[in-house]
């Protein structure tokens, strides 16, 4: 049977999530005896999500076959991993140090040619952020537990 894989998968994910939250909606505790209480809208939304999710699944059988390869996901997924590590590390090492490391790591992964820029960019960027956020706007920057 031929069908569009990505659409099929997204359809399934949507439907399952919809079902999950619909079940959760029934757990919303409220004192009100009203029909239109706090759990009403969530139930409406999740039910509709399930219906449309099913529609996506059904349509995936009618859709054109997808010829995308998984290769083009490589870069973005690597980047997402890097950024996830970055977000985890900021509360430990502090914003500036984490950012410098992150930019270095990214430019390294991408095999950035220009060595001078490779080194300068993290520092210039951090310096600018410091100037604009901490000095000009007086908005705090995330501090880490170590730094």
């Amino acid at each position: 049977m031929k069908f569009n894989i990505p659409n099929f998968i997204s359809g399934i994910i949507v439907t399952v999530l919809g079902l999950f939250f619909l079940i959760l909606s029934f757990g919303i505790k409220t004192n009100s005896n009203d029909i239109f209480n706090a759990s009403f809208m969530p139930k409406v939304y999740t039910t509709l999500i399930i219906l449309f999710g099913i529609s996506i699944i059904i349509n995936s059988f009618k859709d054109k076959i997808n010829h995308q390869t998984l290769k083009e996901y490589k870069g973005p997924i690597l980047t997402m991993l890097l950024v996830t590590i970055y977000v985890i590390v900021i509360p430990i090492l502090g914003y500036y140090l984490s950012t410098i490391i992150m930019i270095f790591a990214f430019l390294f992964i991408v095999k950035f040619e220009n060595r001078v820029l490779l080194v300068l960019t993290p520092f210039i960027a951090s310096a600018l952020i410091y100037a604009v956020f901490e000095i000009l706007l007086q908005v705090p920057i995330p501090k880490g537990s170590l730094f």
């Binding site: 502090g94 080194v119 520092f123 951090s126 007086q138 705090p140 730094f147």
Partner: protein, 334 residues
């Protein structure tokens, strides 16, 4: 060879930056371990005042104005940091858990005495040591200017004849103004229709448009409508008349036996803060709040200045807490 040199210099620069950012971070760590030994040379660096609401709002403006005046007295600067969320609970929780060295103070709001009763948060006034009360704004029963009642008594009569129909707007379920309206209900034995809004301002807007029958918010918040002549205030829920509306009687003057309810703002520090430091802060903020510049600012904005020292403020918070403990459970909130 060439590559090694480049990598070496990169490494060197990285180390330099690590050192630099460490210095930046360390500057804020100094002195926090020495909480007990600060004593007489407090303060010797910048103090941080946490404001649990958004920048630009009423509480924020009061805090910034107070800080402006207080820091001249102290010789050290005081920086305001807004940490909003959870009707103030996020900011105040962070403040309660801060280092008890006197370098982190908080502007607390009336909600602090309400959280446990509302189930919002386990935070209570006991998580802090009171420094000073700065402001108090009582609830003011306000109705459209052309309403068929001119006194609280007439309003109550009307409400008794139309149980559950008179709509009273408030700033949100469980907000201080909702509690104030419930307080009135209890004291006058009437049944009102509470209409929650996303803050006091939208509720006042609704009143001005004649979409609801009344609001019980602070005088400052109805002031523009009052001056425009579109609303009238029937009574204030406090022991004394309010400076902004000196012709408006208090509930007790009108023969209604109800607690004084209003919103308030004060300064506190974490509960473990040493007393000597609390005293220094108390002196600073109390005198700042009594300065003419500050009082002028508050008057301009229609906000009530009520100053209490550390001990009195503590008692005040406990009283409020007990009062809310009685009213809130009756309100049938979800």
């Amino acid at each position: 060879m060439f590559n090694l040199k480049k990598k070496g210099s990169v490494l060197l620069m990285m180390m330099l930056m690590i050192v630099l950012s460490a210095c930046n971070g360390e500057g804020n760590e100094e002195g926090t371990a020495n909480g007990e030994n600060q004593g007489t040379d407090f303060p010797n660096k910048e103090i941080e005042l946490i404001v649990p609401t958004a920048a630009g709002g009423g509480t924020d403006m009061v805090a910034r104005q107070l800080v402006d005046i207080a820091q001249d007295d102290l010789d050290e600067s005081i920086g305001v940091m807004n940490v909003e969320g959870g009707s103030g609970s996020v900011g105040m929780t962070q403040a309660a858990n801060a280092n008890p060295d006197g370098y982190t103070a908080t502007m607390v709001i009336a909600e602090l005495a309400m959280y446990e009763h509302l189930g919002t948060s386990p935070l209570t006034p006991e998580d802090f040591k009171p420094v000073a009360l700065i402001n108090y704004d009582p609830a003011a029963l306000t109705v459209p200017a052309d309403a068929p009642y001119d006194t609280v008594g007439e309003f109550i009569e009307y409400a008794k004849e139309h149980p559950g129909e008179v709509s009273v707007g408030n700033a949100g379920p469980g907000s201080i103004w909702h509690v104030a309206a419930a307080n009135l209900e209890n004291a006058a034995d009437i049944e009102l229709n509470h209409v929650p809004h996303e803050g006091a301002a939208p509720a006042v807007t609704a009143l001005a448009g004649n979409h609801i029958d009344a609001v019980t918010v602070s005088p400052a918040e109805v002031r523009t409508q009052l001056d425009a002549g579109s609303v009238k205030v029937l009574a204030v829920m406090s022991d004394e008349r309010h400076d902004l509306i000196p012709d408006v009687p208090t509930l007790s003057e009108e023969g209604i036996d109800a607690e004084s309810i209003g919103t308030w703002r004060g300064i506190t520090v974490p509960s473990e803060t040493p007393d000597e430091i609390v005293e220094i802060l108390e002196e600073t903020f109390v005198s700042a709040a009594k300065e003419e510049e500050f009082i002028d600012f508050m008057n301009k904005n229609g906000l009530g200045v009520q100053v209490k020292g550390s001990e009195e403020f503590g008692e005040f918070m406990e009283e409020n807490r007990a009062m809310f403990g009685e009213i809130i459970p009756e309100m049938g909130l979800e």
